[in-house]
C-alpha cells in the first residue's frame, strides 16, 4: 500500500476519454495452425496501414517484429521511438533486416489519418516497406495497449501521455523483450533481438 501511494503521488495524470467498445472475437486461423495462448496475435485486431490497406495483427506472423505505439503529432518522444528502432535495425546484418517486421500503431485514430501517417513516415525516413505504420479504432487501441502493457492517456487538446516502450515479438507474436531505453543501445534487448533473428 505504501508503494502504491508513493507511486500515485509522484506520477502524473491527465485526461481520458471513454471509448466505444466492440464485440470480442477470437482470431481466426487457417485450419491446422495454432497461435500460442500468450501471443498477442490472439487479439483479432483490425488495422489500416498508411497506404490505406486493411491489415490484421496476425498478418505480422512469421517474422520476429519490433512493435511500438505512438502518435504523429507528438514532437518529443515519438520520433525518438522511431529513431531508436531505426538504430536497432541498422545494427543488424542485411539478411537479418529482411527477416524483421516493424510495426508502429497510433494512439490517435482521429488525427492520424493515412495522410498524417505518410507525412510522419516521410519526415522520419520510415518509408521502407518493412516498416508498417498503422491506425486502428479507439477500442482496439485500448486492447492493443492492454496486451502490450502500454499505459496511455488522452489529454485535452489532442496530446497523449503514454509509456514509451519498444517490444520484441517472436515470430508467433509472443513478447520476448521490452525496452524503454531510447537514449542509448539496450544491450539485453539487442541480444534478444539477435536471438530471434538467428
Amino acid at each position: 500500500m505504501k508503494v502504491w501511494l508513493a507511486m500515485l503521488l509522484s506520477a502524473s495524470a491527465c485526461a481520458l476519454a471513454p471509448g466505444a467498445e466492440h464485440e470480442h472475437q477470437h482470431a481466426v486461423l487457417p485450419p491446422g495452425e495454432t497461435i500460442p495462448g500468450e501471443s498477442i496475435y490472439q487479439l483479432p485486431l483490425k488495422m489500416t496501414d498508411r497506404h490505406g490497406r486493411p491489415l490484421s495483427l496476425t498478418a505480422m506472423r512469421g517474422k520476429p517484429a519490433l512493435v511500438t505505439m505512438f502518435y504523429t503529432s507528438c514532437d518529443g518522444v515519438c520520433p525518438m521511438l522511431a529513431f531508436s528502432m531505426r538504430r536497432m535495425e541498422a545494427a543488424l546484418a542485411p539478411e537479418q533486416r529482411k527477416r524483421l517486421g516493424i510495426l508502429m500503431v497510433s494512439f490517435d485514430p482521429q488525427r492520424d489519418t493515412q495522410q498524417a501517417l505518410n507525412k510522419f513516415a516521410k519526415l522520419h525516413k520510415l518509408e521502407d516497406p518493412s516498416w508498417v505504420l498503422a491506425r486502428t479504432p479507439e477500442s482496439s487501441v485500448r486492447e492493443l495497449a492492454a496486451v502490450l502493457g502500454i499505459r496511455y492517456r488522452p489529454l485535452p487538446g489532442g496530446a497523449f501521455s503514454h509509456s514509451t516502450v519498444i517490444l520484441l515479438l517472436d515470430k508467433q507474436g509472443v513478447i520476448r523483450a521490452r525496452t524503454s531505453n531510447l537514449a542509448e543501445r539496450d544491450a539485453d534487448f539487442m541480444r534478444a533481438l539477435n536471438r530471434e533473428l538467428k
Binding site: L5, G37, A146
Partner: protein
Amino acid sequence: MLFATAATAAADWVRIGPGRFDSVLPPAPNITSVTLAAYHLDRRPVTNAQFLAFVRAHPQWRRDRVARLFADPQYLSHWSEATELGSSAQARQPVTRVSWFAAKAYCEAHGARLPAWYEWEYAAAADEKSPDARGNAAWKQRILAWYGKPSSQPLGEVGRSPPNYYGVFDLHGLVWEWTIDYNALLVSNDSREQGGADRAKFCGEGALSTADRENYAVLMRIAFLSSLEANYTTANLGFRCAMDAP
C-alpha cells in the same frame, strides 16, 4: 439496450448523471472538473452465478479454454470446475479472479461495457444520503476501514450493505473493480525520462489534485488499478458493468 435472457444475469441498472465534479485525478493540470454524460451503472457487482451463466454461454471464456493472453492461470481458480462453482464459491458472492478482458467480454455480451474510472469515482462519491459525501470525514474513515481489514475472510454477498444515494451497492467495502481505462489512469514516468530532454515532458506535472488528497480510499483504487495488467486476476478484484444512458 440488450439485456441477457438468462435469469441469473438479470441486470439491474440505475441512471446516474449527467454531472460535473472535481476528480482526485484531474483531466489536465489546469482543469480540475470532470463533466460526465448520463450513464447506467449496475446496482451490484457481477456475481459468481451471473459470470457462470456467461461462461457456459461463451465457452471460450472457460478457465480451461481461455487464451493466456486474456487471463492468467489463476482465472476463476476458486471455482470447483470450469463450469461449476462448487462449494467454495457462492452464487451471490461477487465474482473475482477475473481479468480485464474477461470482465469486458461479459459486459459486451450484455450490450454494456465496463465503466470509465470517472463514472466509477462519481458514483462512489455518494454515501447513503448525499451524492457527494467526500467532505464527510466520518464516512471517509468508515470506507477506509475496509482497506485495513485482512482479506482472508470469505467475501460477503453482493447487495447486503445499504445502497448509496443512487441506489448502488458495494462500491466500497466488498471488492476492487475493473474499469475500462485501468491502463489510462497513471502513466509511468518513462515517457518523461528519455534523452534527458525536458521537451519529452508532455504530460502535465502536478498530477493528482491536492484538494482531495486525504481521500485515500479512492487514491488506493487508482493506485491498485494502475498496477494491473489486462490478464491479471486477483482474489479481491471483480467488476460491474455500465452503459451510455440514452
